[in-house]
Amino acid sequence: MTAAREALQLPILFLTVLLLGAIHVADRVALRPPSLFGLVMGVVLLGLLVRSGALAPERLMHATRSRLANLNGLTVIVSCVMAAAQAFTLVTPDFGLPRVLVSLFLLVLLLNTLAASPDRSRVLRSLLVILGATFTLKFVVLAALSGPADGRLARALQILFEGVTLGAVSQEAMHPSTGYLAFVTLVLFMVGLALLPGRQITRSIGGRSLAKIGAPRALPDPDLSEQR
């Protein structure tokens, strides 16, 4: 990984995720910092990334690196956790039953992925599905149920739905731009995760060593010996 990517690109990208993910447009613009639950999820995700090899902390902070380089590595890790916290806060509904259910769903899914010990590409794919599904739930399904209805029939159906669910599902109406911003934020977050320095796997073939970064754990070729 180049110094520019480590010192500039990744922290700026993750901080942009933190900022864009905070913008909530309703009757007024509000900047919402990550919730406590989001921070917990961010730390869990960091553990998952390290365990899967999607993030190699020793390539960001190590005794052999200079103090300045270690500081750069620390900013990458901290900004990554903050961006993850913001991404999870963003896809979690704001109130009521959906908030509780989605929070539980996210926690269980992440812990399950952590227990399964997948490799880098599987973790990223799994995360894409988790964030994509919760994004759709919040910004498409719940927004449609909670937003202002176009016609009388739609309004009547909304009132009926609110009555059946005792108002526990309805969310605060938001401006459509919030959804687009959230989408861009999540895409940037996934790009940032894909750019993180992964675990470096060194293999030796007949005395010559080959370095491969972010490779899957299991290799079909039995001649290759893997050193981690």
Binding site: A3, A4, E6, A7, L8, P11, I12, L15, L18, L19, A22, R28, V29, A30, L31, P33, S66, L68, A69, L71, N72, T75, S79
Partner: protein, 186 residues
């Protein structure tokens, strides 16, 4: 090794040296940029600006470079004295677009108070806006103290104005006193 190879090797070495020299600079710049960006985000979270004007105004106020539009303020003051309170609020808001000047915010709150006051009742909507604005003015003022030496005003401090607005929003026995119709607007 041919001279061509030696030249190529020399170019490679000097390029590598230059890259090695540039790396600490890149790292230092990156650290500074990240710290600056992080501070800006923390500031945005703390101040919750509503527009780009508020962002730029707030940042310039942080370094002491914020100035209100004096012409718009004078217009606002003239309209305020002519009892055209809504127009006055509009002019004051134009004068202090970033909402960073305590004195202008005090006048806006005062305009809301006078707009909401009547002999028979106080308009809660205007008084609520007034209370929000006077609280903002107090938060902006050094040590929360605002004193305006304007002979046209009957309340010269933000504390008096705040107490009056809070009293107007409260429902108590005094609201049913028939003699309140003889009360004077401050």
């Amino acid at each position: 090794m041919s001279s061509n190879d030696a030249n190529t090797s020399g170019v490679y070495r000097s390029g590598r040296q230059s890259s090695l020299m540039r790396e600490p600079l890149t790292r230092l710049l990156g650290l500074a940029a990240t710290a600056g960006y992080g501070v800006l985000i923390a500031w945005l979270f703390a101040h919750q600006p509503q527009s780009l004007t508020e962002v730029t105004g707030g940042l310039s106020a942080t370094v002491g470079a914020y100035r209100i539009d004096q012409q718009a303020f004078d217009d606002g003051l003239r309209l305020f004295r002519e009892d055209q309170f809504e127009a006055a609020v509009s002019a004051f808001e134009r004068a202090d677009a970033a909402k960073r000047d305590a004195r202008t915010q005090f006048y806006i709150a005062y305009a809301y108070y006078r707009r909401g006051w009547s002999r028979f009742y106080e308009d809660d909507a205007w008084f609520t806006k007034g209370l929000e604005t006077v609280n903002r003015a107090i938060a902006l003022a050094p040590n929360g103290r605002i004193v305006v030496d304007d002979p046209e005003l009957k309340m010269h401090t933000a504390d008096e104005l705040k107490a009056e607005l809070e009293a107007g929003l409260r429902t108590d026995l005094a609201d049913f006193n028939p003699f309140r119709v003889f009360g004077a607007r401050k």
